[in-house]
């Protein structure tokens, strides 16, 4: 009964929620074909449990590791997210053969003879040369991406075209679909409810005033727009769940450009620096220090009161179990110094 309630609650913004894994559950236990939906709502049929898995990025590998499926990964691309993972997963993941530091090209994936290719991004074929859906079919592999509402190509993407992302449904959804495909529904369900419990625990302690938070991704330069995360992103969902309000909730994209004048006008009370983006001029702590000293931001309440906090992009950019580490830390950081 409780699980049903959760499904009803969490499935609202995303139609591909709990519903699509359920019909698959009995047949998977019986060893029959499993049907899950891809990000466009099309059905993918898995005749048997995948044995050779290539993860194009570390996010997908991290999700698999938490389902006890690390052993099935024959190679991974883009291992950078592993750097922020914790024991025992960090050690486990570091043993996976790395195919490429970035997302590997089709040939490199094909050489591993995978029967399933996973990505934590919302679609295949983004980086040049990386496998598209058609390429996966060419090399006899199936593909499963972590879906974002509107992040794929089929949903309406205009500035006002969709509702903001306010929960971590993409993570639960991906975990459940992976659980169905690999026939480990019980474990996936347990993981999803553990993660859900952590989200609920955070929600329970975020009461009271919601501070105005601005997300920055790099040290702003005078005369150039400032990059922030809009309302369609995981970062926005984390911020909302942690009890803050995104001052730029009216833009949607992951690297939205906003004007420095608007920053002054909206006067954020907290600045949340997302570090480790490749385009950033400094890494980690150094970036946070630069942002604190940036003359464009010194006038904001956030810098005056010293409330500049940070998180790594590897925890807050794409659907991943590590989103919850970032959520807990963000909730704590937001409450500190808040009367």
């Amino acid at each position: 009964m409780r699980r049903l309630m959760l499904c009803v609650l969490t499935a609202l913004p995303l139609t591909t929620g709990c519903g699509d894994t359920r019909p698959a559950a009995p047949s998977a236990a019986a060893g029959g074909p499993v049907v899950v939906k891809d990000c466009d709502g099309k059905e993918i049929t898995f005749a048997r449990v995948p044995e050779r898995v290539v993860t194009l990025d570390g996010y997908a590998a991290q999700a698999l590791a938490r389902l006890g499926l690390t052993g099935k990964i024959v190679g991974t691309g883009y291992p950078a997210p592993f750097t922020v993972d914790a024991s025992p997963y960090e050690e486990e993941l570091s043993k996976i053969p790395v195919l490429a530091e970035r997302v590997p090209v089709t040939e490199v994936v094909a050489a591993q003879r995978p029967d399933l290719v996973l990505t934590g991004f919302s679609a295949f074929g983004g980086p040049p040369g990386s496998p598209k859906d058609a390429d996966l079919a060419t090399v006899n592999a199936q593909g499963l991406a972590a879906c974002m509402p509107g992040g794929g190509m089929t949903m309406n993407g205009g500035p006002s075209g969709r509702a903001p992302l306010t929960d971590l449904m993409p993570v639960y959804d991906y975990v459940r679909r992976l659980g169905a495909v690999f026939g480990v529904q019980a474990r996936a369900e347990k993981l999803a409810s553990e993660l859900r419990a952590r989200q609920d625990a955070v929600a329970a302690r975020t009461t009271g005033a919601k501070p105005r938070v601005m997300i920055v991704q790099d040290n702003p330069v005078a005369g150039q727009p400032i990059k922030t995360s809009g309302s369609g992103t995981i970062a926005h969902a984390l911020l909302t769940l942690a009890g803050g309000q995104n001052v730029f909730a009216d833009v949607t994209s992951m690297h939205a450009d906003v004007s420095p004048e608007q920053v002054v006008k909206r006067d954020p009370q907290v600045i949340w620096v997302i570090t480790d983006y490749t385009f950033a001029k400094a890494k980690g702590r150094h970036l946070v220090d630069q942002v604190k000293r940036n003359p464009l931001l010194t006038g904001t309440t956030a810098v005056k009161e010293g409330r500049v906090i940070s998180a790594s992009q590897y925890q807050v950019s794409f659907p991943s179990p590590l989103n919850f580490e970032a959520l807990e830390r963000l909730a704590t950081d937001l409450r500190e110094g808040n009367p």
Binding site: V103, E107, G125, G126, D135, G150, G157, P159, S253, H255
Partner: protein, 354 residues
């Protein structure tokens, strides 16, 4: 190639024309095989040749790793590179002739930006509006619609004047580029934003056997049609009066050629994105080698374009392996030094082109 060029005396052609064609054709054939052997995953040369020989002599499709990589992924891509290069170079040669302007290229008339508008509309509006259109079809429709608009506005009482064509084409190219950027700025789909790099800079990744037949057929047909009319293309280059004096209906000829170029470029752009530079530079290379007579330079243009783009794609695949570069970056990197070399060797720097 360069060795041949440097042996040439300044004005005369030292290598007989049939020999040059034969050498280029052999280079193309050899390049196809060698390029198929190069890639992110090492496959021994003997195995590559074995796989190609097995399939080209009618062997069945296998599922061994090397076979999947060589036959299903690399070989169609190498062939498409050659086809696209030949098509773009050919289209460039014709457009330069039609508008009598040496800096014209196939995209002068708004084609590539039209294609990206078509593609980006499909990517961002999704299935609701144009769901039936796949991306290549949308890009082709975008390219041909752009061209139709440019031709309609540039023509005056059915006549197409070169200067007017260039001005309208360039203006609309910028308009379409603006529309693309505007639509992209309004979308939050990072997938769409990454996709658009493909349409602006081009790329041959994702090629499979199903991609190949249509562009190949169009490029071969267009080459044949243009070779038949190469003499009339020569007359057109001489200008309105001279053309008329030679009994050529210049107006009709321009329409005919531009429609052919639209079909050619639209088809190529739809599968390879907007690969720049090939259509601009390769025709000039061909003219430097064999002169401006279209009967002689068109076959050379086709062969050079094919070889050039094929190797540009090899560079795109291997320079940052195991990642990949957009091919449009490489065409300029490889093309400019080569072009300067030939220009110096032929002593043409001070001469007028065409």
């Amino acid at each position: 190639m360069t060795a041949i060029v440097q042996k040439l005396p300044l004005r005369a052609v030292a290598v007989p024309y049939p020999a040059l064609v034969a050498v280029l054709a052999a280079t193309l054939a050899a390049s196809v095989v060698i390029a198929t052997g190069i890639g992110a995953v090492g496959v021994p040369a003997g195995e590559v040749v074995g796989i190609l020989a097995h399939h080209l002599t009618g062997g069945g499709d296998g599922t061994a790793t090397a076979e999947v990589i060589v036959w299903r992924l690399r070989f169609p891509r190498v062939l498409l590179g050659a086809v696209a290069g030949a098509g773009l170079a050919l289209a460039g040669a014709v457009v330069q002739g039609v508008v009598r302007n040496p800096v014209a290229d196939p995209y002068l008339l708004g084609l590539s930006h039209g294609a990206s508008v078509g593609a980006v509309l499909v990517l961002t509006t999704g299935s609701a509006v144009v769901g039936a259109l796949t991306l290549p079809v949308a890009a082709f429709s975008g390219a041909t619609s752009a061209m139709a608009i440019v031709l309609a506005i540039a023509s005056r009482q059915g006549r197409l004047l070169p200067v007017r064509l260039i001005l309208v084409g360039v203006a609309f190219g910028h308009l379409f580029a603006g529309i693309t950027s505007f639509v992209l700025a309004g979308t939050d789909s990072s997938a769409a934003q990454q996709q658009i790099i493909f349409w602006l800079l081009g790329g041959l990744s994702g090629t499979n056997w199903a991609t190949l037949p249509v562009p190949a057929a169009v490029v071969v047909t267009a080459t044949a049609l243009l070779l038949v009319r190469a003499r009339r293309l020569n007359a057109l280059v001489l200008g309105e009066e001279a053309g008329a004096a030679l009994g050529l209906d210049t107006g009709r000829m321009r329409w005919y050629l531009l429609l052919l170029v639209t079909l050619l470029t639209g088809t190529v752009v739809a599968v390879s994105g907007g690969i720049g530079f090939v259509g601009l530079i390769v025709p000039h290379l061909a003219r430097m080698l064999v002169g401006a007579d279209h009967r002689r330079m068109l076959p050379i243009t086709v062969l050079l374009g094919a070889v050039f783009l094929l190797w540009a794609d090899v560079a795109a695949r291997t320079l940052v392996s195991p990642a990949e570069l957009p091919i449009g970056v490489l065409t300029a990197f490889l093309g400019v030094p080569f072009f300067l070399l030939v220009m110096r060797a032929r002593g043409l720097a001070g001469q007028e082109m065409t």
